[in-house]
């Protein structure tokens, strides 16, 4: 636990982001920690442990839950947790939308964005975790942000259009 304590916050944030809408965060965390516990002799150093945990979490979510779609019951559970943590309903919707659109990004861009924006890793650390270069990570984050912005823009336009259509329908009736 001593080795784990400094890794706790970024690791849990990352798992929460992976798990949103698809699974219970605690299940994922438990799975990963059990694996780390069993292979602890292979991990040397505090930095290595955090990287190991992040990679293990990503691999588990890829191998087991990659194809899972967002499920209403999980989304509601996560929203309840956010509400319990003091997030306003409006912000909850924004977070929900963010995660849904994040899910549509390519895996490596999504991963880099989550690690950078939510878990707070530096680009250098992300590059080490992903066996990549800092430049490549910068590109992934930049493209991920751009694409996310486009997706959210499309969503906003669609919802505005549907609102207008509904208004027209009401007027026509």
């Amino acid at each position: 636990m001593k080795a784990y304590a400094p890794c706790h916050e970024p690791f849990i944030r990352y798992c929460s982001a992976l798990a949103y809408g698809k699974m219970d965060t605690e299940d994922l965390v438990q799975d990963v920690l059990l694996s780390a516990f069993q292979h602890f002799d292979r991990v040397h150093g505090k930095d290595q442990l955090l990287h190991y945990l992040i990679r293990a979490a990503r691999n588990r979510s890829i191998s087991r839950w990659r194809k899972r779609k967002f499920k209403v019951e999980w989304v509601e559970k996560h929203r309840d947790k956010l509400a319990a943590q003091g997030i306003s309903p409006e912000l909850q919707l924004d977070i929900d939308l963010l995660y849904r659109e994040l899910d549509r990004l390519p895996g490596h861009q999504r991963d880099a964005l989550v690690l950078f924006e939510i878990s707070g890793f530096s680009m250098k650390e992300i590059a080490e975790m992903q066996n990549s270069s800092v430049g490549a990570v910068k590109t992934k984050i930049s493209r991920g942000r751009k694409r996310l912005h486009q997706l959210m823009q499309e969503k906003a336009d669609t919802s505005q259009l549907s609102k207008v259509l509904k208004t027209i329908q009401c007027i026509a009736v």
Binding site: E9, F37, H149, M152
Partner: protein
């Protein structure tokens, strides 16, 4: 609210909100884990590697002290004589009545890689080489010789590798294999059959033709490569030569789906010869990790008795057909790619898939057409039937087409997603008679 602001607010909220699980909760989780076996935790304190290395060094020193070598001058064997003995031991056993001049053969080997075109007439004896690991490999049909273990790195094996009905592959030493591989890759690159020397290469050497990465060589190139390959690797139905970076293998598949031949792992094997399967080196590690079955390689399990091609994938485009199937023509790579393009274009036009959806399973049955689980209604089914039929493919009760960015697979699939027969073209695909294959391989 503008999307940019929405995203920023959401990011900020997610950064600020406390972690979903507290560290106390984690402590509770960890205390519920089953304890590690005692031996494992005890073993953690020992560095096995350094213990082994020290023990080996000590035993070598002790052995040299206990058994000092003393060779009298008159008993000493001249280096030349030793070389002759070693070389003659390395020669294959000639059949009675056909033995060539030994002096001539020794001279041939001494010259190194300048192999003569005329090979001695070796008997079609069949041998089996036992694998260094005791795996559940079924016995190779019709083999009679006792297992021969090849362990000495200095001597070439006494017998060549062969299967029934095939002229044997001429045994090569480690250095000879390297030179052979280097020359072959240079030639392939020069003839623009490969882009670079680090590219994976699959060469099929049946009788009458040579294929390099699925591409049949024209007559000029065929004679060139036949001259180069045949002295060492005589043609035989089902014989393959596989080259990857750090790997070289040449051999054939048995009726049971095992591979027998010659392979070399320069960095992994202490001896230059090791009987082994065409193992995971042919599949990317990513594909293999989820699919390894016990001691046997995935590739072994994939090759059925009737396989006409190599099952699995290389890290580049490859096409193969699996089991002769009379109900549809075997298409080549360009044809399969054309079919895939046409199908995807039509599916997008009919809005059965959108731009994001890049994986499609089409059920091509006699009574219905299904796209990603949804039956097609009206004339749509007939249109797709006609489109696929243009390529000579008939419907079947289990027939499916799997379209993915990496590949196209057409075949008959079983209950669990295993591919019973068909053909495929692409990269990094799982094709197996025992495991979920194609797009089913991605689904957990």
């Amino acid at each position: 609210m503008r999307p940019g602001n929405q995203a920023n607010d959401a990011w900020e909220a997610l950064r600020q909100v406390p972690p979903e699980l507290t560290i106390e909760r984690i402590e509770l989780l960890v205390t519920s884990f089953p304890p590690l076996p005692l031996w494992k935790s005890w073993l953690h304190y020992f560095n096995l590697n350094s213990i082994l290395m020290s023990a080996i060094a000590l035993s070598i020193v002790l052995a040299s002290l206990l058994f000092p070598g003393s060779v009298k001058e008159k008993d000493a064997i001249s280096p030349e004589a030793v070389t002759k003995i070693e070389m003659s031991d390395a020669l294959p056993s000639w059949p009675a009545g056909g033995e060539p001049d030994r002096g001539a053969v020794i001279a041939e080997i001494k010259e190194g890689d300048e192999r003569q075109n005329e090979l001695p007439n070796l008997a079609e004896d069949t041998y089996t080489l036992s694998s260094s690991r005791q795996g559940p490999f079924p016995p190779i049909a019709q083999l009679s010789a006792a297992p021969l273990s090849v362990s000495s790195p200095q001597l070439a094996p006494a017998q060549p590798f062969t299967l029934n009905r095939c002229a044997p592959i001429f045994p090569m030493g480690k250095q000879e294999i390297r030179q052979f591989k280097h020359q072959l890759l240079e030639q392939l690159q020069e003839d623009q059959l490969i882009a670079g020397k680090k590219e994976n290469v699959l060469i099929e050497v049946p009788e009458g033709e040579i294929k390099v990465n699925g591409q049949k060589l024209d007559s000029a190139l065929f004679s060139k490569y036949a001259d180069f390959l045949y002295p060492t690797i005589p043609p035989c139905q089902g014989r393959y030569l596989v080259i990857k970076h750090q790997f070289f293998g040449v051999g054939s598949y048995t009726e049971d789906g095992d591979f027998i031949g010659l392979s070399i792992y320069p960095k992994q094997s202490p001896s230059p010869f090791e009987f082994d399967d065409f193992e995971t080196s042919l599949l990317s590690h990513h594909d293999l990790s989820a699919a390894r079955v016990g001691e046997r390689s995935l590739l072994n399990d994939q090759v059925g008795a009737q396989a006409e091609g190599l099952m699995g994938s290389l890290n580049q485009d490859t096409s193969f057909a699996m089991a002769s199937n009379a109900s549809f023509a075997v298409l080549n790579g360009p044809q399969l790619r054309r079919l895939k393009r046409k199908l995807l274009a039509q599916l997008r036009k009919d809005q059965l898939i959108n731009k994001e959806k890049k994986e499609v399973i089409i059920g091509f049955h006699e009574d219905r057409m299904v796209v990603n689980g949804k039956p097609l209604v009206g004339g749509q089914g007939a249109a797709y039937r006609a489109l696929i039929g243009q390529f000579g493919i008939d419907a079947g009760p289990r027939r499916e087409l799997h379209l993915a960015p990496r590949f196209i697979i057409i075949g008959d699939f079983g209950e669990y997603g295993e591919m019973l027969s068909g053909q495929a073209h692409g990269k990094s695909m799982i094709v197996s008679k025992r495991l979920p294959s194609g797009l089913y391989a991605d689904r957990k």
